[in-house]
Amino acid sequence: MQMTSPVREPLVLRQIHDKNRKTTMHDVTNDICRQVEAAPNMRWMMALGISLIVLAYGSYTLYRTWFFGIGEWGLNKTVGWAWDITNFVWWVGIGHAGTLISAVLLLFRQKWRASINRSAEAMTIFAVLCAGSFILMHMGRPWLAHWALPLPNTYGSLWVNFNSPLVWDVFAISTYLTVSAVFWYVGLIPDLATIRERATNPISKFVYGILSFGWDGSTKTWARYEMVALVLAGLSTPLVLSVHTIVSFDFATSVIPGWHTTIFPPYFVAGAIFSGFAMVLTLMLITRYVFKLEPYITLTHIESMNKIILVTGSIVGIAYITEFFIAWYSGVPYEQYAFINRMFGPYWWAYWAMMSCNVISPQFFWFKGMRKNIYATFILSIVVNIGMWFERFVIIVTSLHRDYLPSSWVMFWPTYVDVGDYLFSFGFFFTCFFLFAKFLPVINMAEVKTILASSDEDASVHYADEDEKHSKESAH
């Protein structure tokens, strides 16, 4: 069935193999369950294999980080935060798109989110786990990680400092991870029940039977489910804004030139959504191609996401310019130097990489042809993520490497352990994503069926009865 409307393109297209046939609810079930039920194919195994190899190499460098300490990194007395925190902020930012799609777009009743929310939310969870791994890495002694929590202890009791943004971050990230995971799983339950009912092999029947929590799709269950989805969306919307706000507080509440600016919270949130959507697009285009999901993830979806990239990318651009203006306008020489140094100092290449990737490249999306071009979108989505990584690197390293005393001025260069730890997060992220894509439904079947139903011809006659009467009257 096709959503037809004079002003909007259909959200679900006709079947690929038979263009004359509209996609039915049964097609949705078949198309989405296919890859869960089929034996793993070669392409998937190779992709998972590569991810596992990267993960294995990353695990080796992670072992070096934890066994020999963070002296294995390129850090020094002046630059005490570099790749680890850059990667942390980058991954947290990437996570934001999932929540934006599942929560904010739900509140705004953007129906097109239905076919992308599941994988975007999964991406959020994996990205936040990757982000968290850098905190554990930088702790050096991860077995003491629980010291970041306010637990009773034998030192007094000595409590954590609730005035510290780093403690706020512990609460923000762990709440975000928990709520995202719960939101995602609640949405999965009905689809897991669909797989359970279709399963023929006793092992999958058993496993999906446990995972689907005994879902039966009764009226009350669905009514409560909708309420849970709505309230969780309402809670997640401020939550997602708070998370990157608090991440930006890690810098903004300090006294380092280039960090203590009040623009940081909105600027970080916009940047997070910007990079998050880019990552969603990268993954979605691959998933769409591999699992033949063209009827569900359409060019309209890609275009909508590109519009969000354009908007948030431009917000980020304005934020960069504002920062510069304020540095000049403040009249503080340290602040002014920090920004001139970003542009023309020894890390000029990182700065200009950030500017060209984040500010110039999304401007291509002013053109509809570019927004609807899959290849251009794929390349630009990767460019944007490179740019956003450089943004965090520029903010963190260029601000730190020029200390107050010129005798402490240094450069930061990463070691292979820095690079390996970053690769670890990639390996982990893609391993999780590929496992998710194989064993769980990548598209929320129940929600896509809702879109189909609202375009059901009989249903529209039923619901639009009043409208029709009205239009007939006015025609006479």
Binding site: F162, V179, G217, T219, M227, V231
Partner: protein, 178 residues
């Protein structure tokens, strides 16, 4: 749990949302009690058509949220104000503005977890729970209506069957004992 007596249900399958809703309206107007309807996706206002009570989950979420707020404020004030008071950055022991982020996060955390737990418990959902499926296709593309014959003694089974057939079921209704 003791053994429940088996109950007999008549199961009607619909393949269209609008037929389902008009059938519900007609059948209920005739005084038939519908046990439940199982659908592949949330059909808007189906609970209203069936005359079920509106869910009070949102209120539960609010109460859980308030609990989280209270917990967070109490915890932070106790720890920094009473258990081990320290002057940090020249601020008060109980520096309220600094407590806002953690208070907000714990409010959201408690509201979400509490509501989802209530949702699972009130629906009897949980890992390993068995689902009561009248027709497995209700998770695919069919709308399944279950009518408890024991609770509709006004009508005979044949009468109910005929009522279903007259109101748009897509196939012959089946009987199922649960």
């Amino acid at each position: 749990m003791g053994k429940k007596e088996k109950q007999e249900f008549l199961v009607g399958v619909f393949d269209n949302e609008s037929k389902l809703i008009s059938a519900i309206e007609t059948l209920r107007a005739k005084g038939l009690k519908i046990h439940d309807v199982y659908t592949p996706y949330p059909v808007h206002d189906l609970d209203v058509y069936l005359g079920f009570k509106r869910t009070r989950l949102a209120r539960a979420a609010f109460l859980f949220g308030i609990t989280g707020t209270t917990l967070a404020i109490t915890m932070q004030s106790y720890m920094l104000g009473f258990a081990w008071p320290m002057i940090i950055g020249g601020k008060d022991h109980i520096a309220v503005p600094d407590f806002v982020p953690v208070t907000f996060e714990l409010t959201v955390l408690c509201a979400s977890l509490g509501m989802v737990a209530t949702f699972l418990i009130s629906n009897g959902l949980g890992p390993g729970k068995k689902a009561l499926m009248f027709d497995p296709r209700s998770t695919d593309d069919k709308y399944v209506m279950a009518i408890n014959l024991g609770k509709n003694s006004k009508f005979t089974k044949v009468e109910i069957e005929k009522m279903l057939l007259d109101n748009g079921v897509s196939e012959q209704p089946k009987t199922k004992e649960v």
